[in-house]
């Protein structure tokens, strides 16, 4: 298990390889469809994303005794942000993107060029991931976009992920797909022959 703690420098990020199991400690910013489109349209983020981590997540957040508390925080499907992600990595100096399901070629290339990684969280693990969130530090654009789409600043501790796109041009998604497609071809060729 690799520990990845703030600050998230380019050097630390470039040392990660696909397949690494990582626990993140530090600050992450949630961002999903509305924020990605909004940044892509050229709006300036209300908080600097430089050397930051974006988490594709629409958390369920409740106010308890005047404090924000996250009650569920699993990843959402990342591929929806594929048209916007590469530009945001480049322009804002984002160092890592957390989500689920993987991303495409544009993002893979941006990760390689600008020193960023894609970290796959376990889809559906809403409770485990909520437990790894120790504190809600702030929230931005809450009125404008509503709770799931706002930028939440979350302090996380030992937040579990797997590196599936690294900063060296590798993608675990591509590798597994190629491998399983070979296995499939073999299995298909056997069908009806037994």
């Amino acid at each position: 298990m690799i520990q990845l703690s703030a600050p998230f420098t380019e050097e630390k990020i470039r040392s990660l390889k696909v397949g690494d199991m990582v626990e993140i400690t530090g600050l992450v910013f949630t961002g999903r469809d509305a924020i990605h489109k909004w940044l892509h349209d050229g709006n300036e983020p209300p908080v600097s994303l430089k050397d930051g981590i974006i988490y594709h997540c629409g958390p369920v957040v409740m106010k308890k005794k005047g404090q924000w508390v996250v009650t569920a925080a699993g990843p959402t499907t990342s591929i929806r942000e594929e048209p916007y992600q590469a530009g945001i990595i480049e322009k804002h100096g984002v160092r890592a993107v957390i989500g689920k399901g993987g991303m495409g070629e544009k993002t893979r290339l941006a990760c390689q060029k600008f020193g960023c990684v894609y970290l796959h969280a376990v889809g559906g693990a809403a409770q485990v991931l909520a437990e790894a969130i120790k504190k809600v530090r702030d929230v931005h654009l809450l009125e404008k976009f509503g709770s799931p789409e706002a930028i939440w600043e979350l302090e996380v501790e030992a937040f579990p992920v797997v590196v599936t796109i690294d900063a060296h041009g590798n993608s675990l998604h591509k590798d597994i797909e190629a491998e399983s497609s070979q296995n499939l071809a073999q299995l298909m060729a056997q069908i009806g022959k037994k």
């Binding site: 397949g19 199991m21 629409g58 958390p59 369920v60 009650t71 569920a72 925080a73 699993g74 499907t77 689920k100 399901g101 993987g102 796959h120 376990v122 889809g123 559906g124 693990a125 809403a126 409770q127 485990v128 437990e131 579990p160 797997v162 599936t164 675990l172 998604h173 597994i176 797909e177 491998e179 399983s180 497609s181 296995n183 499939l184 299995l187 298909m188 069908i191 009806g192």
Partner: protein, 297 residues
Amino acid sequence: MTSSLQKKLQETFIEIIRKTSAELPQDVVDAVVEGLEREAKESRGEYALKIIQKNIELAKKKSQPLCQDTGSILFYVHYPRKLDGELLGKVVKKAVVAATKKGYLRQNSVDSLTGQNNGTNVGPGTPTLHIEPWKKDHIEVKLMLKGGGCENVGAQYSLPDSRIGAGRDLNGVKKCILDAVQQAQGKGCGPGVLGVTIGGDRATGYLATKEQFLRKMKDKNPNPVLAKLEDECLNEANQLGIGPMGFGGKTTLMGVKVGALNRLPASYFVSVSYMCWAYRRQGAKVSARGEIQKWLY
């Protein structure tokens, strides 16, 4: 139906929703554990399954939704003839609204034209309610919550299919099933379970795939031909190497359930639904007085 019975039934339905959203049935938990034991130590597959296992325990302990996508709400209800079925359907919907308010269900039903979410989970087509009278004098309620991520990777094939070389026979069906798993990769939050229908039309085929998910993981298909097909497909899909979450590994699927419907001579559909690891299904035997007598899973 007296208003006090309606109230009691509504409470009962809310409890069924809560339990379904927060607790996986034991047969599914057992399948997750089996997968965990199968994966190599210190592998990514084992890592993902350990997190899943911990999530299952935490959700149950905290009585919170297992996954924040509480999914499509599918009810299967049988009721004694003396009850008013129409009214019972209304009580189910009221329970859905109340369970959403309590946070057991996410506000998950969006108007497809305006994009608006009225926050109640009730609207055209939601929740899905299959409700039928029967001769017995108790009510049986089965409920399934099926996430959007896994619903998106379902697939329907019209045979013959030249892309995958599938003809109109069981070998062709098998090719469809394996191809669907390959296409899904890890996107359906695997390890998953497949519900498959051979035959039917496009609508009845998919409808019946969902009913396959009402079966228990370890049950045996009463049709020996289908039982054999299920075993073979499960075994072969797990040779693809996709693994939990698509991270690679031995547990790509936890189960395959297949049913067959008659078809028109002109059509031969194979419909495949994918259920994620967050396989939320519960059921209860409910007395005519509205009390839960027994959990079914």
